[in-house]
Amino acid sequence: MSVLSSPVRADDAVDAPRERRARRPRRRRTGSHLFLAFLVLYFVLPLWFLVVASTKTPGGLFNSPNGALWFGEDFALFDNLSTLFTYNDGIYLRWLGNSLLYAFGGGIGATVLAVLAGYAFAKFDFPGRRVSFALLLGAVMVPMTALVIPTFVMLSEVELTNTPWAVILPSMLSPFGVYLMRVYTADGVPDELLDAARMDGAGEFRTFFQVALPLMRPAIVTVLLLSVVGTWNNYFLPLAVLSDSELFPITVGINLWQGLAGANNGGGVSLYTLIVVGSLVSIIPLIAAFLGLQRYWQGGLSIGSLK
């Protein structure tokens, strides 16, 4: 077809597909949206159950006129919350505090180490760099739970089990965090900028803190969020290394209640209600963090996979 000889038809040819394109997705969008609505229902279902169940009286939890997925007759959320925070001298608040301490202790530690190591791998050529990086990649593939039992035995020999350190120190190990920082820093921090800073007489540490660090921020937020969440959600490690329930994080604590509830050991209090309300309260901080920091992690999560 000759475009030059018939400009009018050429215009038609350009316009036609554009119209078709505009119309076609509209027809399909209903189906796509229905599909999404179905997925949302599935993924939100347990949370909906949790919210509804948190408002029920202990009796209503088992025997609700409107079923498990709708509110009962009494609205007992505030009673349940006050029971939660006072039960057993407020042990729940202790667990929440422990989770915060472990998650931020381990998470911040892991992030600091990952930033420094990632910067070293991305921007320096030092003897042993290739071997160290190969070791790091290998470490990403080591299943972390395989380390829990030997870590427990090791820590018990230096009498560190049943202390906060037994959770925080091993949580500072994040080979994948280092890998993410390296990949991001390699492109995100231009060599020319570092060289310019050095030429101007800045030392290595000043160059790092004032030039490189600000540029690494998106990756830092991502690694921090991932390691805080990882430690907050961790169960196997604290379950193994802690035996004093005063030191438990929320995950092990809720699990303890669940075990006791099955054996009817609540001492007059419905542990099922506490488990439900306690679960609800414990997931609010992380959901809030994810929603608040969206624009960081949504981009940051792709760092490792876009290469």
Partner: protein
Amino acid sequence: MVGWLFLAPFAVVFLLFLVGPLVYAFYLSLFTNGLATGEEFAGLANYSRAFTDPAFLSGVWFVVRFAIVVIPAQMLVALVAALVLDSLTSRFAKFSRLMIFVPYAIPAVIGAVLWGFLYSPNFGPLEQLFGESAPFLLSPDNLFYGLTNVVTWQWAGYYMIIIYAALQGIDPAIYEAARMDGAKAWQIATRIKIPMISAALVLILVFAVIGTLQFFTEPQVLLPISNGSITTDITPNVYAFNLAFRFAQFNYASAISFALGIVVFIGVYVFLFLTRKRGGFLK
């Protein structure tokens, strides 16, 4: 040498909490500890015991079967959801993306407890829907599917976000060119989008394999309410935990941990080596 200064803090933690436990686990696994005999060097006896121990072997078989079912299920849900989300720009799509991701922010323990409630004949909605004939999803026959559901729910959203981010990184001009050549939407999805995000898919697959083979939290949490259909040897990790903390058999438990770690490591390494052209991970 400045590089080493920056690397040193991580290297210390790496040696203490990764190399240390691995070497120590191997060392422990070479001994036996009997009440009468005390600690004795046993060579590889713990390993030959493990690889002939029906409890360990059935656990390995369980996680392998589980991986074969749950990983494709998770990845399919994640991939389809990401492709649909990538093709939409509406507010509802943005909202859906967050809602599908939300389970990732919930600790696996809480997720397992929640599904345990939903499965429960006393609390759950299944009883109200099906009455007396309601299926108990933790019964021996249904357990496999009950656990598949919990794990898919927990992780599919995280994988979806990784795939979605990779899809968003593709230059839309490529789709434009394909459309000019007459490609239909599903052809663009299968011939352009999926091949272009193969690095992300390989990465997810690796994480999923590592995670699934060390399956621990969900069965351990659901064990007390499963009426005995979840046993203390259901997965190698649950078995190792119970050997160590219920029966104080730390030497044998270390052998199982170490054997599991090595098997996973070698499996993943071979997989990455075979897919190294597609993945960006091993270079």
